[in-house]
Symmetry: C2
Subunit: 250 residues, 2 copies
Amino acid sequence: MRNVKIIVSYDGSNYSGWQRQKNTRETIQEKLEDVLSKFHKEPGKIYGASRTDAGVHAKGQVFNFDLKVDIPLNRLPQAFNSELPNDIVCLDAEYISDEFHSRYDAEAKKYIYRIDNNLYRDVFMRKYAYHIYMDLDLTAMSRSIECLIGKHDFSAFRAKGCRSKEPVKNIYKAEFYEESHNIYALEIIGSGFLYNMMRIIAGTVIEIGKKKRRYDDMKKVLKSKCRNNAGFTAPAKGLTLKEIYYPING
Amino acid sequence: MRNVKIIVSYDGSNYSGWQRQKNTRETIQEKLEDVLSKFHKEPGKIYGASRTDAGVHAKGQVFNFDLKVDIPLNRLPQAFNSELPNDIVCLDAEYISDEFHSRYDAEAKKYIYRIDNNLYRDVFMRKYAYHIYMDLDLTAMSRSIECLIGKHDFSAFRAKGCRSKEPVKNIYKAEFYEESHNIYALEIIGSGFLYNMMRIIAGTVIEIGKKKRRYDDMKKVLKSKCRNNAGFTAPAKGLTLKEIYYPING
């Protein structure tokens, strides 16, 4: 029996998010555990790094599990993929120390929030970006996120129902750039993210872009530590979990 | 009554192609004519520039039609979009001379064929690129298409059933490049394209990439004017009609 770490990507459009739950549409965890159960011929259990919400996508989600059957590591991603629906794709598998836990050992995460600022939406990005047809103040949007870098209490960007005990997170990188023609990306790398934190930051940045707020409003909202002062929760479909970082020997 | 030219984009995944036909799934033309019929309160007819096949996408397809009702030009794309399914998006509308016909007046077309060469497929490109996991000889692929530039008889890259009278086409541009991480694009601008020509060229380029053929085989195939010498017809989903060019005052 070996602890295995897998990197998985998915289009979250048709799922109720990562976490297995009752009385909802299907979840990513459920789909992956179904495959593992098939391999093990008994119920399989996996541990995900990030509980992405319904409609949120992932390029580099990570999960780990005890592999109880003899499948060569280099065949494991394809073994999963051949049993998975085509909107979930495993990208890499490696053996990892028995103590490794994808969630508790994560040092940082990178999220990207995409905004489609074409006058008429980009049909190929309709599931992966939030469409805003009006002119945006891109300079203000870019300047507004500078204040997020560093160690701060992010309570202002925390949804009700967030169970995290620690609202202080360290933001290592916050950038806003044009990814492709009129598709803008808000990219943030942080030590951790509170519930809906990335989407509430994106919502606040969007309100700044629409000139409903000034760029320096972000700093005031952050300092207030009050959710009511921040912007709306931007739609899930614009959000993608890009990468999860672990200690080199983790 | 005015002749109107509209640029439209669509995700062709769920359609039987552009052209209205009986006994198939829905077509793009049908969806657009349904909207026009609603505007006109009588059956509407549109003229498309290119009859894209089932599963082929478009970023810049063009159609024209007689507009018989009073909708301001700047509201016309949105008037269509609000009635269309979300995988068809009109991008631009303009009045054009009464003689204009989107198909007969087209001077050139740009197509792009996408290959996903990631070991495991890019989940976000699964509908827009053809996945090949094995190593490809990218240099050979790139060199192979140079011979296509200029005026040639493209009978070798013409599917059975092609009704075009003129197999000689002028290729203005043929490029092969990495569009994003391991996603390669074969981009061709030509005066016209025979039935399946772009997909048969792509299939031949892919066979060269897989080293089933040498790069200079393309020239021999072209000169032979014989379909049997060319490669397979690459899958429709990798193909996107990017742009249609008209004379400046067309």
